[in-house]
Symmetry: C3
Subunit: 325 residues, 3 copies
């Protein structure tokens, strides 16, 4: 199925500037676009790329229309419209249901005929798999695990112990969900492990990035609510609760028993110590260290931008000197 | 086997307040406990939860007994007693020895009949496996590897090149042990890799978290001593030595050739540069950057807690301004 | 094949001090060396180890020759010469080509007879594998993937969606290449995923560390150029470009759409926000937070070294107080 620019304008109720009959075959960036591509401008700093684009059309805010060298779809939110059109023209590929002969499925586990299980995946324990679930190659599912319909494990993820995953959730490769948390008690002979017996509950429409780790609760649940988006290499400690529609960027670490509100945005490399409560609608900028509760929505920061080494050394020297006074 | 509260008091030599005949079936948190559960209080900030608990009993310090609405086991160290009772009532499940038909075992490798090897695991090379070792699904063991008795690889961990693992050690999913360290020498044509030929030696009673990486030594050993506890997503560079009973929290990175003492506690997101020596009994708080040796036991810190963004921006401006004076 | 010290001196054009006929069997560190070992000194702080070494010979800069208790190979760059000799005496083991019966190879994929594919690996999709490629156990290759000759996937790495890998590149265990980037657009109902349709292009002679993640481009490519060396647990966000011969240490996170120049050295735990451009020949010290473009080669820093906790607390208090004035 192909679309003209006019089709897209009609479908999404947009104004159109230029030729409605031009055919749109795919989405591309301003720089790499060619005939048949639609591109988009969301960031003023790419205006110079706009001028050079070879796209057949560009999704653009009205205010930049004079800089546009080609046909345009006008949108108040070009980034959102782009996301819709990329989904239309480049949908996530459908899969053909199959259970690979190179997968292992434990006895008494029933896999719906609408499901895919790839080679080198192993599913055992007390496992329930919903309709149209996609379990890519190399996934390990082991324990009391339920995965609800339309959820996708792309490849090589590991779900262990006791985990419940909702609908339409995506888990990227290398993610580890349900492993024991870091619970130890100090004794005279060293650390004694505290057996971890809780679970992980993951909602609907969640995304979990590559090599992210989500530990099971120590006694209760670690909870990832509906619509949460987690980037790669994130640590979610045991008993943590993450509220609906919160997004967290790469390499952030959340220690145990913290509770993050809804619709929060947490940038990369943030550290959140244990037993913290963060309310809804909080934004935390990159590399901040959060050591106490946040009770008021708003923006919070905690990192000092870099400098040339010589200048930075002076900062550090003054910082340390002033405190010694 | 079930226990009454009186049984537990007798077994652990505790005072008991309330009904000794009440039956204790499991451990639960104050909030989620119900009839048959024993809970615990270790942190004053949960006193309000204590008042609402539906637990049949609570492990508690004598000083809080007046706030306890139910039966109590009195302990000077409720967290420790909790760890003992959770182990009693919720032991780590025993496994049935088996070598899955879906595992690959290289020729000439002898696997004791007390051992479990799960589906999609591959064991090849010059490998020695001790009695009662548990190798969960999806584990890759490849090289000169020895794993001593009662050690457990939960799932999906990768042990390569040259690695020796002690007794009763637990390795969580996604951990990578024995891969080449980051050794390169600068040349006019770019970086030249330095072949890594050392090994990793891991002691007894160690715990290694999910997706943690421990590189082999460049020539000698990377050493993780007895009783060390490593959380998730930690980087241990080549030639690093970690002393007995040291615990390290998530997302900390230790560059090559550093030596950490015994009984240290290193919090999350700490960075330790190469060739550092840290003595015994050092505690390092979260996100500190350690750039020189630590020769004296004690507590060390290095991160500045976050603030509201508007306030933080002023801090940063003043910091940078003051240094320019 | 064995070598005398004289052979090595002749082969590499070095001066030799001592006995040319002594046999050199292997490389070892100063501390662990014994008869038959050659060791090296690159760092003055190891002079005390030099004095105690039992090595048969040491690679050393002329200026330290008086401290050397044994035979010596003289080099202006001992670290480089060490890297050459370790490669000579301890080459990366050659592998015997084989396709394990415990691997899965999709229909219509042709694997050269010079290639190795280990147990529990799965190769499917539109995949092209070059001559003498080594695919260790537990690797998952799934999508439009090409891997050029002499490249090695050590074990358990995951290459998905659309990825092109050059020649003589090494990928360590747990690395995830080609997974979706973190692209979401905010809507009234929460975050909407933006389908990711780009690819990853990796050059020749690249090294990618354990559990490092490299996301596919959103529309175009994420690019890792020739000779790039990435350590463990690094995050490379979508659309990032890394210039030739740049080296990045562990746990650094690079958000999306940034461009790093050639021959840069980025230390551990550095954070680089999105849409940043960094020119060639930049060195960034550990844990710096890079929030704007770097247009000038040089050294940049951004972390404050730790202190004893009591002193650090004073720093923090002064820092916060001064800004409130």
């Amino acid at each position: 199925m192909t679309y003209t620019l006019g089709d897209l304008a009609a479908k999404y109720g947009c104004d159109l500037v230029g030729d409605p009959d031009i055919e749109i075959l795919g989405v591309a960036s301003l720089i790499s676009a060619s005939k048949g591509s639609i591109s988009f401008l969301t960031n003023e700093s790419y205006l110079n790329q706009l001028k050079e684009t070879k796209a057949s059309a560009v999704i653009i805010n009205k205010k930049f229309i004079d800089s546009c060298p080609t046909n345009a779809l006008i949108s108040a939110d070009p980034y959102y419209l782009y996301s819709i059109i990329v989904e239309l023209l480049h949908p996530i590929p459908k899969f053909k249901p199959e259970i690979s002969k190179y997968a292992f499925i434990g006895k008494d586990i029933s896999i719906p005929s609408s499901t895919y299980v790839g080679p080198m995946s192993s599913i055992k324990g007390n496992v329930s798999i919903g309709e149209s679930v996609y379990i890519g190659p190399g996934c390990i599912i082991d324990g009391n695990i339920s995965i609800d319909r339309d959820t996708r494990l792309i490849a090589s993820s590991t779900i262990v112990n006791s985990v419940k995953i909702g609908k339409r959730t995506t888990i990227h490769p290398g993610a580890v969900i349900g492993a024991d948390g870091f619970g130890n008690v100090k004794t005279k002979k060293g650390w004694k492990k505290i057996n971890q017996i809780g679970d992980v509950v993951i909602g609907n429409d969640v995304e979990i990035g590559s090599n992210t780790t989500i530990d099971r609760g120590s006694l209760d649940s670690t909870t990832i609510s509906d619509g949460v988006k987690l980037d790669n290499l994130i640590q979610i400690g045991h008993n943590t609760k993450i509220g609906a529609h919160t997004a967290i960027a790469s390499s952030t670490a959340i220690a145990g028993s913290s509770s993050i509100g809804e619709r929060c945005m947490i940038a990369g490399q943030v550290g959140i110590v244990g037993h913290i409560e963060i309310c809804d609608d909080v934004r935390i900028n990159g590399a901040a260290v959060v050591t106490k509760n946040i009770k008021k929505p708003g923006i919070y920061s905690g990192s000092i931008p870099f400098e040339e080494d010589q200048i930075w050394k002076k900062f550090v020297a003054k910082f340390k000197l002033s405190a010694k006074k």
